[in-house]
Symmetry: C2
Subunit: 363 residues, 2 copies
DNA sequence: CTGAAAGCGCTTACAG
DNA sequence: CTGAAAGCGCTTACAG
């Protein structure tokens, strides 16, 4: 038996096939099956015949051909650093919002892992996506200038101002202010702040909120109570542990305000290691309200950002920009959209204990 | 000033543009810039001229045109139920592996949220993707039959056998067996199992491993110690709490083996609520080793699945299938690929306490 | 109301 | 070693 090299694979039906089957032209089929405004021009009978033929042949419009003709892929890109040192539940929630709204508008969503700076970014803007959402990019202003001009961008939590890019962000300073005010309202005065990477907008704003809250309650700022760390639980663990070691015998803070839930998780671990109980001996608060804020024990008092809604909005804004670009109206209506945050109180914050000193750490 | 309706947008350079700039034909440019095997046919000088021209014009191949000509999108799809009741860190790790390998092969990755059964699936197979990875699909055998025949599929942790679909899974029974054997080796005998949804392959296999481990240690099976729950932390919390309420005054189990880390997290919460300490009063083990296994306190003893590697492999297998399909060789070489699992011991498991009874719950 | 033509930007045979 | 032609499947003007 001769093996035919060209195995006649079941070719998908095209508009011509449908047209032939229905006894009309391919354009008529196009108008009925894919056309938006021109579809009214086909008579009801013809229309029905075409629809039946399409059904019979299982016609599906070919995405590539349509994209080529329309100069539009109906696809948005999402770029993020997918894993720095920890998998990032923050992404999960933002992305969920993005997918939701994209599906609503019948847009595909393709994801890029943006591990090494902006280098690969221009390559993604070759027509395979109509626009790009940058999730929490940490770009230098320098790198931002390299963003291709023909592709619309939207950023979420960008750390620098990007020219011609809408940034969707949250009022982090207010969030930090409120959670620290809450700690103060519970009677805490000596409040340690485990901070993020200095220079990043996220860290700086949260630090500012912390300082403003102390000032508003007339609590003097003690720089020794601010320790730079990072955003991961490791960072929190290490920062807390070494602080405890270095301050053995001294007064324990009443509470710890951590720059992120991940950091707070690490703090809890370090505190538990030296036998300190949360919130009985010391209170802990986080920021972000990610998954881990609810899997710690006690669960974390933290600041919630409407990440899903921000994802929704990012898509809306991006699609709007894509549409405007096509109509030649490239003007940016707004540079930044700020979402509110909300204090979430859970069991990790209690009343301050009587005087408590740092016990020498076990190792 | 007359507003020109057709704003002359900066059209991206095409192969013709590059060809003209370099004084050659578009095909020559194609051969040099995009061609794989035919590129050798161009003389070095011409090649250089073309490459310079491309650089000067910032030429980028148009993805849609290429896809149309090649009948290949260079894009793989990933479908999953993105959020059932909890955001799913399991996805994060699998997806990371998928992105990694896809990028390696210069494939795009587009994500579909598969909320409502298989209904929308055929629509995604219209040429916009070359193949599809189903992550943890819960399909009926019935629905599986509707999978379009022209698109290659790969599943990860599928719950039913899908015709003509490779399934990438783990040896969950062995994982459960090993973690329960470990509990036994630590001296635990009365081991509660908080199980998942009955009938799902994942639950059933883990339950089977639990039973087999007990049997192998000659511990009689007590069906009262198996409680059906689900996979979320809520499920675990509720299951554990009501068990404690219903068995107030009775013997406390030595240990709890939970069907997932999420469930284990909920258990920890319920146990802590009634003042039971883990692992001093009771030990707890999970399954999956997701993010939350490390954010609980104490951290969870659990079973690790190589999710990232499974994501890597899923892409490899899918690309292979896509390639084979194009060459007409559609035969499935293997139906299932089973990855090993590994016991991960952490602080949530200790030695069993002296006799301990369930105290009446607080409410 | 309907169809023939041209074009989107790329490839793959086929000639030279 | 290089180019003219035809085609991938769809659209959008343009004729009738």
């Amino acid at each position: 038996m001769p093996s035919s090299k060209k195995a006649k694979s079941v070719r998908a039906a095209t508009l011509s096939d449908v047209g032939r089957e229905a006894g009309v032209s391919a354009m008529a089929a196009s108008a009925v099956l894919n056309g938006a405004r021109t579809s009214s021009r086909i008579s009801p009978e013809t229309r029905e015949r075409i629809e039946e033929a399409a059904l019979r042949l299982q016609y599906r419009p070919n995405a590539a051909a349509r994209a080529l003709a329309n100069r539009r892929m109906d696809t948005i890109g999402v770029a993020t650093v997918f894993e720095s040192r920890e998998l990032n539940p923050y992404f999960l929630e933002v992305f969920n919002g993005i997918l939701e709204t994209a599906a609503l508008h019948e847009q595909n969503t393709t994801v890029f892992d943006w591990q090494r700076g902006a280098a690969k970014l221009p390559g993604w803007c070759d027509g395979r996506i109509d626009g790009l959402i940058l999730i929490a990019p940490t770009l230098t202003s320098e790198a931002a200038k390299v963003l291709p001009g023909h592709t619309p961008f939207v950023a979420i939590h960008a750390n620098v101002e990007l020219p011609n890019v809408v940034n969707i962000e949250t009022d982090e300073e207010r969030g930090a202010y409120e959670v620290v005010r809450f700690l103060i309202s519970q009677g805490h005065k000596r409040i340690l702040h485990v901070s993020g990477v200095a220079g990043l907008v996220g860290s700086d704003r949260r630090l500012r909120g912390y300082k403003r809250a102390l000032a508003s309650a007339h609590i003097g700022l003690d720089n020794a109570l601010i320790i730079p760390a990072g955003f991961c639980s490791d960072d929190g663990y290490r920062a807390m542990r070494s602080w405890l070691q270095q301050h053995a015998g001294e007064l324990l803070p009443h509470a710890v305000f951590c720059v992120s839930d991940g950091v707070a998780t690490g703090c809890l671990e370090a505190l538990s290691e030296v036998g300190l109980r949360v919130p009985d001996d010391i209170s802990v608060a986080g920021f972000d309200d990610t998954l881990s804020a609810r899997t710690t024990l006690p669960q974390l008092t933290t600041v919630r950002q409407p990440l899903r809604a921000m994802g929704n909005r990012a898509v809306e804004v991006l699609l709007d920009r894509i549409h405007r670009q096509n109509t030649g109206d490239k003007q940016l209506t707004e540079k930044s959209i700020v979402f509110p945050v909300a204090l979430v109180t859970r069991a990790s914050v209690g009343a301050p204990p009587a005087i408590k000193r740092v016990v020498p750490s076990r190792r």
